[in-house]
């Protein structure tokens, strides 16, 4: 083997082969990592509309025709939206299996109803249920005396299309 070839082999081993071995180690080590629970997808919401209506500015939420919620998750943070009312959105965080989000009624509904309502959502993920479910409550942020409205959401689109464990 000529000197040039020997040098090439040495550099190749140092810059290509060794990093590949390192990559294998990283992939092996990374398997032990845990990521936040998956809540991404569409959930069908079961909530008492009459109770929702009784909340200050609750009419905005009670009027949503299709009671489904869509969650778009990015790690511990998520964006929650209602396919039946695209302008109502909320963002929140996930802490373990607990979701916290704050919803604000859209500006146009505020101008129509004179309501600028803010709601907070607190829920936990039940991973044992089949399909998975969210159990929680919606409450009006600016009304400490109002009772919160409990809800249950079942996962409609489980993570079947998701990127594979």
């Amino acid at each position: 083997m000529s000197g040039t070839n020997r040098n090439f082999v040495l550099v190749y081993v140092f810059l290509v082969i060794l990093p590949l071995v390192g990559l294998a180690g990283i992939l092996r080590g990374g398997r032990k990592l845990t990521a936040p629970v998956s809540i991404d997808g569409v959930w069908s919401l079961r909530v008492d509309s009459a109770q929702l209506d009784s909340l200050p500015c609750g009419k905005v939420l009670a009027a949503i025709p299709d009671k489904a919620i869509s969650i778009s998750q990015s790690g511990r943070s998520f964006v929650l939206s209602f396919p039946g009312a695209p302008t109502v959105t909320a963002s929140g965080t996930l802490d373990g299996i607990t979701l916290r989000a704050s919803l604000t009624s859209p500006p146009e509904s505020s101008s129509q109803t004179g309501c600028a309502g803010q709601f907070s959502l607190l829920a936990t993920v039940d991973r044992q249920a089949d399909p998975e479910s969210l159990l929680g409550a919606l409450s009006a942020t600016n009304c400490p005396t109002c009772t919160s409205v409990e809800f249950e959401a079942k996962r409609q689109a489980p993570a079947t299309s998701k990127g594979g464990r």
């Binding site: 040039t4 090439f8 550099v11 190749y12 810059l15 290509v16 990093p19 590949l20 390192g22 990559l23 990283i26 992939l27 080590g29 990374g30 398997r31 990592l33 845990t34 990521a35 936040p36 629970v37 998956s38 809540i39 991404d40 778009s72 998750q73 990015s74 790690g75 511990r76 943070s77 964006v79 695209p86 302008t87 963002s91 993570a159 079947t160 299309s161 998701k162 990127g163 594979g164 464990r165």
Partner: protein, 422 residues
């Protein structure tokens, strides 16, 4: 049925904004495609949806996006066929030791760094329905890709195509793209097989059989087309339509096999005869409509899925900065170190690293697939799109700074590269 008024209005606005931004970026010596990518972001929730939500909702109602997506995907299928067409396997066969080393390091370095970054980002930006291995491999594939067409465009514009730097860059980009797509195919197959009813071995067997048919059967058929071109100097419309049909059929086969439409069209382009005049002739037939009409739709659709407002808080912007830094360190730094190790002068080595660091449209295509199969989250997708934009945008100014044209040595024994102008 699509609302035709809405669809045509969308196309009109997209084309106008893309042309405008493309021309604006050209003034700053950037490839037009960079401006068009940027235009896509402007039309999405990051800007238009933020400053004019009512108009954005009117222009891009959610129910209309399916049609826009379908059109844009057809554009990307044809685009990938053209990218495959521009890649000449002979260039890869005749690579010198230095080109082999640079191309391999320019894949492994970003891959390893991306995997290290994945250790940090997986618990923060992913969820437990995605395995770490798939997440890390995807990050590696997305960071190791080079925008072959953008790179070719930069080299042509700077008259560097025949320089030693240009030849090595084109060969390395070709290797990187083929490798990146193979890795991505592997990930997509794994993910789809995990949730499908077909065994992974059946899928792999099908892919192997398909590749054999394409390389030894369809390729033979295509040589006949090239012979016709050589004889008459042109190809009839019927034969061109047949070529397009083959590309679409190939795309359908790979989609049916569980990989993705784009792999089939890319393979079809890659096995095409590489006689330069023939390649130029086919490119001329397909390029105009793809570049001026269909790709801007893809940029707009990608922009509609990119929401930089998801990057809330300093932590998210820190992740984004980290992604850009790691991507540049892996690709630019890795290629530069390898080129330097082979004896290339510092400035040329840095120029090569800068060229290899352009991810452009290829990066967006890969990221789009990642979001479709939900291996990356919307926030991470937005960060990676920003990274693809930044690394592509920085190529020209960096090249001006570190490797101006007069420092680049002419190629001594050049292998002519296909001048892909996409």
């Amino acid at each position: 049925m699509p609302n035709l008024f809405t669809l045509v209005l969308q196309i009109t606005v997209i084309l106008a904004v893309c042309r405008l931004m493309g021309s604006l970026f050209r003034r700053f010596h950037q490839p037009r495609v960079v401006g068009e990518m940027f235009a896509g972001i402007l039309l999405g929730p990051s800007l238009l949806g933020w400053v004019a939500p009512q108009f954005s909702a009117y222009l891009f109602p959610p129910s209309s996006l399916g049609f826009l997506n379908a059109l844009s995907q057809v554009g990307v299928v044809i685009f990938m066929f053209l990218v495959g067409l521009g890649i000449d396997p002979k260039e890869l066969k005749h690579q010198s030791h230095s080109a082999v080393l640079v191309s391999h390091v320019s894949i492994t370095a970003p891959f390893v760094l991306a995997s290290l970054l994945a250790l940090y980002l997986y618990p923060r930006l992913s969820d437990d329905s995605v395995s770490f291995t798939n997440f890390a491999l995807f990050m590696g594939a997305a960071m190791s890709v080079t925008a072959f067409p953008v790179l070719a465009r930069i080299l042509i514009e700077r008259d560097m195509m025949k320089s030693s730097l240009g030849t090595v860059a084109i060969a390395c980009a070709a290797v990187d793209d083929v490798t990146g797509w193979c890795i991505l195919a592997y990930i997509v197959v794994l993910i789809r097989a995990a949730h499908g009813t077909t065994s992974i071995w059946v899928t792999l067997g099908g892919i192997l059989l398909f590749a054999v048919i394409m390389i030894y059967g369809v390729r033979f058929l295509l040589r006949g087309l090239e012979r016709t071109f050589r004889k008459y100097g042109e190809i009839s419309e019927n034969r061109m339509a047949f070529l397009l049909l083959l590309a679409l059929a190939s795309a359908l086969c790979t989609e049916r096999l569980g990989i993705h439409l784009l792999f089939g069209s890319f393979l079809m382009g890659a096995i095409m005869p590489k006689e330069p005049k023939f390649v130029r002739y086919v490119l001329d037939r397909f390029e105009t409509i793809t570049i001026t009409l269909l790709l801007p739709l893809f940029f707009a659709f990608t922009g509609l899925r990119t929401n930089v407002r998801l990057m809330k808080g300093p932590a998210m912007w820190f992740y984004c900065g980290l992604i850009i830094a790691v991507a540049a360190a892996g690709k630019l730094g890795g290629s530069m170190a390898a080129a330097r190790a082979t004896g290339m002068p510092w400035r040329e080595a840095a120029g090569l690293g800068t060229l290899m660091n352009t991810r452009g449209l290829m990066g967006l295509v890969i990221l789009d697939i990642g979001l479709d199969i939900k291996i990356i989250s919307p926030a991470l997708f937005s960060m990676m799109v920003v990274m693809a934009l930044v690394t592509t945008f920085m190529a020209v100014p960096l090249l001006d700074l570190i490797a101006p044209g007069n420092l680049v040595r002419p190629e001594s024994a050049g292998i002519p590269a296909q001048e892909v102008t996409v």
